[in-house]
Symmetry: C3
Subunit: 475 residues, 3 copies
């Protein structure tokens, strides 16, 4: 990329009409330096429990852990082995990180116009001070620059956390997790706020698969409650939620293929649970059980006050051979059509009118924004809508979200931004993109006389900071 990008123009990404752009810039400048609130994401807490945590090479940091990056290279026929992505069978993969970096740099044009391209460009420039273009010619020079930075104390995670001005960062942790790293952080004297999030997917979903019973054993061990029946299971979950809450958790997180909910009778759920324990549950049992447990989790949230997040619509591990070779979370998750109006009805019948619950919905199916999510959130006190997620976490994705969600939901039924990333150094770029996108959208409302500049200032501050903080009780 050339000069315009290198300079990272202060008015980048904004709409072009000068009047609107001026307002956008003014609004953006009011929120640009606000602390980052990160209520949902997948950063590894280990980074912060070890004060000397070392990111490794530029490839260890920027390529190998980031499926956004390597899936695009793979889609053009570059074998993942050549990018150093570890295989589950321990087959040999490329270990020369300079070679990997060279391939990445030579193919960086694949990212033109993509959010990954934007984030990487901003990271290289703003975090690592790179000034030249990433391409085949400059590749090794840039590698050297980053590698050199990574040896400096300023590039330890705790220090970067502070430099990034992160006010709080929530991780995502299994129900049976000991939260040892969170504990260690808490005891270390370091003041960065790293909070856990309770994610019980492993014990709630796929009860017909062998992995579930292993997860139940882990749950038994973690809770010190021997899970032999549904009652014990519920007690164990409540025990773990209490522990997470005590460790600072503000929220739970749930992933499901569909938003399907169903209130099972206690007799039905007991039987299904027994079948699962005996390895005899069917796929249909699993779907109904997950649907039941989402309602049960809403009940628990009403009681313990943990915010409930529901991420719906990703068909995980779309390709079996790929999954066998590289495992989950390696770029092969593909969205599907989602439905909320019918699916959530049982849950909302029971808890939707209850303000003690905050249920935040995330979708990968944008056709649900204006059709289902905004109308639902614009009625039910318990409902809020999360920001554009995953493939839609992009400037256009945000623009479509503002366009289709806000007229019916209003911004106060939404919860600001979360970065949802495992790529720690991309966090500032991601929040900055959201702050620009929201300032740009609100500026359009001002310029078209839909809101006043005074109201607009309140709106951008809430979108950048206040909404996330309040929705997740992060005060």
């Amino acid at each position: 990329m050339g000069q315009a990008i290198a300079s990272l123009a202060e008015d980048r990404y904004f709409d072009l009409e000068p009047g609107q752009k001026e307002i956008a810039l003014e609004l953006y400048q009011q929120v640009r330096d606000l602390p980052l609130v990160c209520p949902h994401g997948h950063v590894d807490p280990r980074m912060f429990s070890d004060p000397d945590y070392d990111f490794g090479t530029p490839v260890d940091l920027l390529i190998i852990p980031d499926h956004y990056v390597y899936r695009m290279l793979y889609s053009h026929g570059i074998a993942l082995e050549k990018l150093g992505i570890p295989r589950l069978d321990d087959a040999v993969v490329e270990r020369d990180h300079r070679k990997i970096w060279q391939i990445f740099a030579e193919n960086f044009y694949l990212f033109w116009g993509t959010p990954t391209g934007i984030w990487l460009n901003e990271e290289l420039r703003l975090v690592f001070g790179v000034e030249s273009e990433l391409n085949g010619e400059e590749a090794q020079d840039i590698y050297d620059q980053i590698a050199e930075k990574l040896t400096q104390p300023e590039f330890r995670p705790r220090k970067m956390f502070e430099t990034f001005n992160i006010e709080v960062l929530c991780t995502t942790d299994a129900a049976s997790d000991s939260l040892a790293h969170h504990q260690k952080i808490g005891e270390s004297g370091w003041t960065g706020r790293i909070l856990p999030t309770f994610r019980p997917d492993a014990v709630v979903n796929h009860i017909h698969k062998p992995g579930w019973r292993e997860s139940i054993q882990a749950l038994s061990a973690a809770s010190d409650i021997d899970v032999q029946d549904y009652g014990g299971y519920i007690r164990a979950l409540e025990n773990r939620r209490a522990y997470f809450k005590q460790m600072g958790a503000r929220a739970t997180d749930h992933a499901a293929l569909a938003a399907y909910t169903e209130a099972l009778s206690s007799r039905e759920v007991d039987r299904i649970f027994q079948r699962a324990l005996q390895g005899e549950a069917t796929e249909a049992d699993a779907v109904r059980f997950t649907g039941h447990m989402l309602i049960e989790m809403a009940r628990m949230s009403c009681e313990d006050g943990l915010v409930m997040q529901l991420h719906v619509g990703s068909e995980r591990d779309h390709n079996l051979v790929h999954w066998q070779r590289f495992g989950p979370n390696t770029g092969a998750d593909i969205p599907v059509t989602s439905e909320f109006t019918h699916n959530l009805q049982p849950l909302l019948e029971e808890f939707g009118r209850n303000s003690a619950l905050t249920l935040i919905l995330f979708t990968l199916d944008e056709s649900t924004y204006a059709r289902e999510l905004a109308p639902l959130a614009g009625f039910y006190p318990a409902l809020r809508v999360g920001p554009p997620w995953w493939f839609h976490d992009s400037f256009n994705g945000m623009r479509r979200y503002f366009d289709r969600m806000m007229e019916t939901a209003g911004i106060y039924n939404t919860v600001g931004f979360n970065d949802d990333t495992r790529a720690f150094p991309s966090i500032p770029a991601r929040h900055d993109l959201w702050r620009r996108a929201s300032a740009n959208w609100v500026a359009g409302l001002v310029a078209r006389s839909i809101v006043t500049i005074q109201d607009a200032e309140a709106m951008v501050k809430d979108l950048a900071y206040g909404l996330a903080k309040r929705a997740y009780n992060l005060d």
Copy 2:
């Protein structure tokens, strides 16, 4: 809201590029003062049959009857009882309308950027002459101003109808309605045109529910035909259609969860009808019967010339407890995915090629605009597409509609605007928003050299006035 909104800038809502905006303004000014044609809505005819009809307090006028308003307040945890919304069980609700108004005003920020916010702001300023911002501080002052206006003769509905420059307003009336208010209006000497619309949903849908048999009795009584079998039912419907037509009706209106149609054999339909009369119909019967009756209604429209409107895709009364407490049409209707291509095929097979039929389709699923509705309307002579409906009746909703519908359907397979409202004083603001949105869209075509300014002038006039008038035979 602040100064820019207070002044209601003449160029409000338009796109910002100066060249396009100038064209938009010029086009808008040509249609701004055209009479309002209101071919579909839910205004109560009672307002016009009683020359002294009194709207009550500002809360009676603007909050209690408008679920667009109170659902948003409710979504933030404000109990409907506190807003004075009547409960079916006659439990006590707030009666102090000044208190209700105060809550509304303090929470008016929830409507920032929403169409309801725009309409309310315009109503307050343009209908009631309010000049200050609606917020907690100004609330009681503004209440006084509105209340004072409502005592004046200019604020009787008939007078407002004239002030609003409404050329014709169609109500929506049950098949068994006596149309007594329409009759009284007709006999009163007042020249405002208030026409009925035939809506037989109560006798066509949900034949498996107890309410249906009551509706059949009402139909028998109204038609003076004792409905004992399907033949009598059809005669009774034809009788009522004839009566509505004689009373000035131009159209029928049909609501259904899905656009499903199916031509039942006379034997099948007879049997299903008998089961329904005996209270033995199933939900599957009900779905098939509605699907059959839509075709039957298309047949009748071919014969009597009444335009047929079909509103599809709202899951009514999404929350049972809420419905038991507050009844229907209280904010809990949520859209669902819709399908037209397969569902309408049986109806279109029989009547789609027939120009004697005008079937106007309304959807809450915008993904059907470019995928199904525009291609269908761009082929079948009988089909037209209605304007953006309900949650999509907004500036962005209109923009998306123009964007996705017009390239394939052309504007002449659409039918202009209808306000579809029960909030009578919001009618001018709603039509004005459409006129601005359509002028804005057409100006974009001119500025990008897609249509000439001469053609554009014809287009905006038809979008604002001519299309609705011709589609509904309102000459």
Copy 3:
């Protein structure tokens, strides 16, 4: 239409902000005159095998073969018989082409704002030199001008092919086609490249219908392999693919209602095939067989290198009476909801990771762009996404495509443009619209500092020319 259109402003269709427009124009000018690469379409090869091919009257050229045109007129109640569209029963239709042209001209306003309106306007002006507006008054004059041109040698197809600067044009041909016209073109000494495309739909789809067995006989005859079982069928298909390839084919093309794929066991597929031969296959058999054959075709593509195109989501012949009267491809095909994530999984499980395959997906359901197609193409090496198709081949359709597809797929998982038309003289206008739309989109990226002007130049060239050429191996 008036002056602005008549002059065909050089900056037509572009976004209006002057900075962006200047960049767009600059980028457009770099690609405006590049040769046209037409890798997929329905132009009749006969036009080029006969050096003296005569288009007939203006109505023969512009109306009768173009269902985009006559379906719109029909949707407003103009009988197709009055437009000279031939009936299958040989009933009399209008033969006076001047009368037909008059109707067309008087109703040309129906095309305001539509892509058909844009293409026709450009054709009339740029191909036929018409300078006045098409309307009732000018109709006969314009008819004369076009008719006069059509007598000139410059308006023979081969000459127009050269004038249009077409580098290569691929036709679409049945599996049993002898490709006699392609052969004749090849032997004629004329250097225009007209390549066949292998489209086996007639022998792959609808095995439960009588037409299938006729198609199998044609396949037997063409391949000289007597198809008596599934093995013979596969050999016959491979034989034909080899012949097509030898005749210059670069690709196959497949149409299906859904993207459903399923790997049948050889026993199952044998049985289904036998049932089909005996006229006993069911509709369910047909769906499964098509799903199986798509996988089989992917396998063959891996072997012979033919690019595989899949067009999904058109419900063909929506109205039975219309179809009986006028046959297929006469305007009554209507899109339906499509699904790719689940449906393509079996095919992608087997061949998705294989770079030897290029599978290009086309959809009529834009909701799949960002939800399914971009995420799939951004992962699987074998997948590419085709340009906006049919009803979405329009300026807004392209804008939505760029908006929703590119952030996740990147432009290099797309394949540029194809015109997909049977309306030969509309080809330059269609490519020009794409070139304008893509220059406009890329200019927006430059103006918002997302890509540099250097990268933008590469992008527009690839979008206009390089991507199509490389994806279809047209070097």
